[in-house]
């Protein structure tokens, strides 16, 4: 089965911040996973790399964003791009 967007986000956070995968749920906020402000920008950078997308630079909402919000943003960007961005080197 192809990994879902959630699976990939979960894998990035687990690998980079040693957060156990079972703690990362759709309703978790990044802050509740123990990520501080520097970790957050680092995590979002990694996620952008993973999906080859650019998330909105809205720092104020990042702390309270849930994993669901991140997944939604990625899916929306992927749909809007129609795969164009995915072709970028």
């Amino acid at each position: 089965m192809m990994p879902t967007v959630f699976d990939k986000v979960q894998a990035v956070i687990t690998k980079k911040f040693s957060v156990p995968a079972e703690n990362i749920r759709l309703d978790s906020t990044l802050e509740s996973l123990g990520l501080d402000s520097l970790d957050l920008i680092d995590a979002l950078f990694e996620i952008e790399d993973e999906f080859n997308v650019r998330l909105p630079q809205d720092a104020s909402g990042v702390r309270t964003a849930t994993i669901q919000d991140v997944v939604d943003s990625i899916e929306k960007l992927q749909a809007a791009d129609g795969g164009q961005q995915a072709g970028r080197a």
Binding site: K16, F17, S18, L38, I41, D42, F45
Partner: protein
């Protein structure tokens, strides 16, 4: 307040000869060089040899450590500091923490991250610079991480004065304790300059030795007539300095007592060394410890194997030590571990302390063709036993003219 006495209670290294001080010293005694050919993915530079560290970060850091946020130079420093603290066997109480600090030196800093970032901006995508790049590149990253890791709230200082950086860091840390500003200091420095950019920059100055065609490991020849330049090395050395009375109270093993520190500048030329400047640093270090030439039993020389340094340093030693300069061993271990630049002073001071511990002096390797202008006892070839080493001197001289001399005595 009367000046307090300062002792060395812990040693930690990450060197081209490995991370165990005893093994490092054993290999140096045999004249074993860690210098080898480098592989760069660019056209071959004029020089392509260096003393690289066989570093496996996973042996020094726990699995959850985010190594991608630490430049190689910081990985070296943090590992060496942790080893020094283990060696010191020190447990920090809350009361001690605000009187304990870090004194660190590096010349070139986070070269790997800088190079990677330049590549990203100029060759790949300037929009994709890693968000924590500044925190990896800043020269005080190592000192900051060491203080955080061990919970040290005292002075946390980083010195950058090229090849004297870590000797200055140790000397200044000694003063912090001596004059009552701190009780414990982790002091030393590191360098990791073996990136293509920085290697080529050094190369372009024509100060690097070309590879010896028959034996690349023998390319660095301090004090020899056929010396042809320095060989870059990398690594870190950190030591734990403590106020003597409190170290004795906690039953610490004392490696040596800090006996003197001298700091001077040549104030003549950005690279050309000066006899007066170097001699002045040595005189100041002797005066600081109330010592005379007769007290010095071994000198770990700056000995870069550049044409100018070795003859200048020899003259400065004779100027300061007089006849004593001819009676004592003076060696350049750079012939084997290369030039650690900002990390050199600390590693070489550690080696001088080990010479006192093992009652033996390491050699100057590859010294087969004598130079009439370099006429001291440089311990050519292999090391030798020296029973009466009570006091050792370690010299560090830098581009920019900063000279730093450290002296330690047997406790």
């Amino acid at each position: 307040m009367t000046a307090r006495r300062v002792v060395v209670t812990g040693l930690g290294i990450v060197s081209p000869h490995g991370s165990d001080p005893e093994i490092l010293f054993g290999r140096l005694m045999k004249g074993e060089s860690a210098i080898a050919k480098m592989c760069f993915d660019v056209p071959r530079p004029y020089s392509n040899i260096a003393a690289a560290v066989p570093f496996e970060p996973t042996r020094h850091f726990p699995p959850q450590q985010r190594l991608e946020n630490l430049d190689r130079v910081s990985q070296f420093s943090i590992a060496a500091a942790a080893a020094a603290l283990v060696d010191a066997g020190i447990k920090f109480t809350d009361e001690m923490r605000h009187r304990s600090g870090v004194s660190f030196g590096t010349g070139m800093g986070s070269t790997q991250t800088l190079e990677e970032t330049f590549k990203q901006v100029f060759q790949r995508d300037p929009d994709r610079v890693r968000p924590l790049t500044v925190l990896k590149v800043m020269n005080n990253a190592s000192a900051g991480h060491i203080a955080i890791q061990h919970g040290l709230g005292g002075p946390d200082l980083t010195y950058s004065c090229a090849c004297s950086s870590s000797a200055v860091a140790i000397g200044e840390a000694y003063r912090q304790i001596r004059h009552g500003y701190a009780d414990v200091m982790i002091a030393g420095g590191a360098e990791a300059p073996l990136t293509v950019t920085f290697f080529r920059a050094w190369d372009a100055m024509h100060v690097l030795a070309p590879a010896d065609p028959s034996d690349p490991s023998a390319s660095c020849r301090p004090f020899a007539k056929n010396r042809s330049g320095l060989v870059l090395g990398e690594g870190a050395a950190m030591i734990v300095l403590e106020e003597r009375e409190s170290a004795l109270r906690r039953g610490a093993t004392i490696h040596a007592e800090m006996a003197g520190y001298g700091s001077s500048n040549d104030n003549e030329h950005i690279t050309k060394p000066s006899v007066d400047g170097q001699a002045n640093a040595m005189k100041l270090a002797l005066a600081d410890g109330g010592l005379t030439a007769e007290d010095i039993d071994y000198v770990n020389a700056h000995g870069t194997a550049t044409l100018l340094n070795d003859v200048t340093e020899t003259r400065a030693l004779k100027n300061v030590l007089g006849d004593r300069a001819y009676q004592i061993p003076v060696s350049s271990t750079k012939s084997m571990h290369g030039h650690l630049l900002g990390g050199a002073g600390a590693l070489e001071f550690v080696i001088a302390l080990l010479a006192m511990r093992y009652r033996a002096v390491p050699p100057t390797a590859n010294l087969e063709v004598p130079d009439a202008e370099c006429d001291l006892d440089y311990v050519p070839g292999e090391g030798r036993a020296e029973q009466n080493i009570r006091c050792v001197m370690s010299n560090s001289f830098a581009f920019g003219g900063t000279n730093a001399v450290l002296i330690a005595r047997r406790e």
